[in-house]
């Protein structure tokens, strides 16, 4: 095992390099990924190393990129496509939802489409419109897709390799806020030694509250755990890692001990991942719950302009308010609209 200190962006690049070295059918496609190395430099140096036939700059058409990836996979390749920004994926929606996701079922298992869709995701970086979206719920709602979101450089490297090796299509979310965060990475970590792709991880154990999140908000959650511990509240932080499938067993095991659930994500609340988790926990752990599950999420609004994005992206204080609420010690003014009804 050889570790290096890498940014998350470099760790992703290392994962891609490793996957391309291990498997000659892995191809990388996207806009500006060749000579430029991608707008976040994730593919930096790959075209020079593997050539323009394996690291392919595409015309600027996301549906075209995805449709091409479907055809390549049909032929036996493992395409990794880069969608330049989260808000650009919608024009490829049909190719993802109607084609990529359904082909294996449509062909009764004859055609496997091991396509990985890398998407820089979420906000907090002061970006322009359509560059700060959290569209995970659309894909989580779609049968046939797997959806993951990484929170640290090691996962970035290994989960990306797992996604590429997986015979199913995988939507792979890369939180933009984390691209420059550094961590220790073993780029050659045997995949069998890494936790399976569909599993969550308890990143900080605790006894009083289960705080489930993913992506960049794992860091927010850990900050909240530290802050809460100063007040004698013990928070267990779970990094979901996989949004489809959701590792309900790990979540339920935690909630059965803590009796309290807070779900934290940046995407809109309505029918979001938090709704799925809160419902599932309610169904599975009702008799263990000491309080209704609490969601700390982005609001159901278009992502605001950069100067206002702090109103949308949950921060430490909003998480702590949520923790207070699940502990039954929150001021009424911090409860969500309608939360007091029937209370």
């Amino acid at each position: 095992m050889t570790t290096q200190t890498l940014t998350l962006a470099k760790a992703l690049g290392a994962g891609l390099r490793r996957a391309m070295t291990d498997d000659p059918t892995v191809m990388v496609l996207g806009e500006d990924i060749g000579r430029l190395g991608g707008v976040y430099r994730v593919t930096d140096g790959l075209q020079a190393e593997f050539g323009p036939r394996r690291v392919v700059d595409t015309p600027l058409a996301e549906s075209g990129i995805l449709g091409t990836a479907v055809g390549l996979a049909y032929r036996g390749y493992r395409p990794v496509v880069e969608i330049q920004f989260d808000g650009f994926v919608y024009v490829a929606f049909d190719q993802i939802v109607s084609q990529l996701a359904k082909m294996h079922a449509r062909t009764r298992g004859a055609v496997k489409l091991p396509v990985t869709i890398r998407i820089p995701v979420a906000g907090g970086i002061g970006a322009a419109e359509h560059h700060s979206e959290s569209p995970e719920a659309y894909f989580v709602h779609t049968a046939g897709l797997r959806v993951v979101s990484v929170s640290n450089p090691q996962d970035a490297s290994t989960v990306l390799r797992q996604a590429i090796a997986c015979d199913d299509p995988v939507v792979f979310f890369e939180p933009k806020r984390l691209y420059h965060v550094k961590g220790e990475v073993d780029p050659g970590l045997p995949l069998d030694d890494a936790p399976p792709m569909g599993t969550a991880r308890v990143v900080s154990p605790g006894d009083d509250v289960t705080l489930v999140t993913f992506g960049s908000h794992v860091a927010t959650a850990l900050d909240a755990a530290t802050a809460a511990s100063d007040e004698g509240v013990s928070i267990e932080v779970i990094d979901l890692r996989s949004l489809s499938p959701i590792d309900h067993d790990t979540i339920a095991a935690s909630v059965r001990r803590t009796g309290r659930l807070v779900v934290l994500h940046e995407g809109p609340r309505q029918a979001g991942v938090g709704a799925e988790i809160a419902t599932s926990v309610t169904e599975r752990c009702f008799d263990f719950l000491e309080a209704p599950p609490v969601r700390v999420t982005g609001y159901d609004i278009p992502y605001p302009p950069a100067k206002l994005e702090g109103n949308q992206v949950p921060d430490l204080d909003r998480v702590l308010v949520g923790v207070d609420r699940v502990l039954g010690r929150s001021p009424a003014s911090s409860a969500p609209a309608g939360a007091e009804v029937g209370a």
Partner: protein, 440 residues
């Protein structure tokens, strides 16, 4: 509604796919109004607007130095040549017979739906006959004759339309993807597959065959020419010069919308703007379709990149068995196109040359009837798949959500079996008995 083709030359097939000012401004009768071609006065249209044709409507063969070289096998005058021509004829006759039988089966409740191909037999059989075994086809949902030519069993053509499966065959077994319902999406799959062929050859894992590499044909219709995916396919295919033939059957109608509503110019002209060679062919002339497809495939196989073929034809039937074309098109239009019938045209040519005898016709008719009988017997014998098969193949690798929901539904179904009522009580059914392909 304006009168139909009577006021204009019926030989000017090029009008059929072109838009006129009248139609663009709201006339719905796309094949009849006006006498100009894409805004160009008739007679001065760009040469590419006039469909290439080798057999006229009377079945008279006209030489064409540019295309004849692609037909030396069927023109040779040998027994083999006659056999090849008769095979084209038989495939077209059988395709029409299957089509009629399928329509009847739908009317009798044996199929949920059927999209008829009548009128498009030459476009489909002629283009499919140009393919090699190692080529690959991505089609829309009406290419029954293409699929049959690729080796799909007749009954397998109908499985999807009976509503028992999402696809009737293994794409890799016949070199053809299963039907695509989203309009135009398959054009991009063709680009990607062709890019994969290119990559295979460059990596040295597949040797080019005799005559060059394998190639891809992606079939689209006139309606699909408006879709972003098809236009993106043009861009990507041209950029990468992939071995692809984009084959458009312009059958004049996208359900009720005439082709003039899709395009202000003849569709073939679109190709050139993308940097893709385009050829417009009489889609009811099986020999011309065969020749231009062979030429396009040759270009693809030998590094010449993509080609667009616009086969000008006509959808004689409804869009599907659920459609009623009398609401939007004049019956006299069918009379015009009936005179251009692709099967009658080839038959006339063959009879004139003594290549199709009365005995041959009897034999082909009997063969078509036999296929229809076998088809009917096969279709009505198809049983509904087991309920839990809906959970099969959702993912290629194990997925706990699907596994849990399979178990839930199995328990629900088992409640009926156990009690004979609609209660959903306890179950002893083994929830893993869901057949091969179950999520492990």
């Amino acid at each position: 509604m304006p009168s139909t083709m009577g006021s204009t030359s019926r030989d000017d097939l090029s009008r059929a796919g072109g838009a006129r000012a009248e139609t663009a401004s709201g006339t719905t009768d796309g094949t009849t109004a006006g006498s100009t071609n894409g805004g160009t006065t008739a007679g001065t249209a760009p040469p590419g607007d006039v469909p290439v044709r080798l057999l006229d409507e009377k079945g008279v063969r006209h030489p064409d130095p540019g295309l004849d070289r692609w037909l030396t096998d069927v023109d040779a005058g040998t027994d083999d040549a006659r056999g090849a021509l008769l095979a084209l004829y038989e495939d077209m006759v059988v395709a029409r017979r299957i089509d009629a039988e399928a329509t009847a089966l739908q009317r009798q409740g044996e199929l949920a739906l059927w999209p008829p191909l009548q009128g498009q037999e030459a476009a489909q059989v002629g283009s499919a006959a140009a393919l090699r075994d190692d080529d690959f086809v991505f089609s829309s949902y009406r290419e029954h004759a293409v699929a049959r030519r690729r080796g799909v069993a007749s009954v397998d053509l109908l499985r999807v339309w009976r509503g028992v499966t999402a696809s009737g065959w293994d794409p890799y077994a016949v070199g053809m993807a299963t039907p695509q319902v989203i309009i135009g999406a398959q054009a991009l799959h063709g680009v990607g597959y062709a890019l994969g062929i290119q990559a295979d050859v460059e990596r040295g894992v597949v040797a080019p065959g005799e005559g060059g590499t394998a190639a891809v044909v992606a079939y689209v219709g006139d309606g699909a020419m408006s879709q972003g995916d098809v236009n993106e396919a043009f861009v990507f295919a041209a950029t990468w010069q992939v071995p692809l033939v984009l084959f458009c059957q312009n059958n004049q109608w996208a359900i009720s919308e005439p082709v003039a509503l899709q395009s202000a110019v003849p569709l073939v002209r679109r190709a050139w703007g993308f940097g893709v060679p385009g050829v417009r062919v009489d889609g009811n002339d099986v020999l011309a379709v065969l020749a231009v497809t062979r030429e396009a495939l040759h270009r693809a196989r030998t590094g010449g990149g993509p080609t667009f073929v616009e086969a000008v034809t006509y959808r004689m039937g409804p869009h599907t068995t659920a459609d009623d074309p009398t609401r939007y098109r004049d019956a006299s239009e069918l009379d015009v196109w009936a005179e251009r019938d692709p099967i009658a045209r080839l038959a006339a040519y063959l009879r004139a040359g003594g290549l199709l005898t009365g005995d041959d016709e009897v034999r082909v008719r009997a063969a078509a009837d036999a296929v229809a009988a076998e088809l009917r017997a096969g279709v009505v014998a198809i049983e509904d798949p087991p309920p839990l098969s809906v959970f099969d193949h959702v993912y290629a690798e194990p997925h706990p959500t699907v596994a849990a929901e399979r178990a839930e539904h199995a328990a629900y179904l088992a409640g009926f079996a156990d009690t004979g009522t609609t209660t959903t009580g306890t179950t002893t059914t083994d929830t893993t008995t869901s057949g091969e392909g179950a999520d492990r």
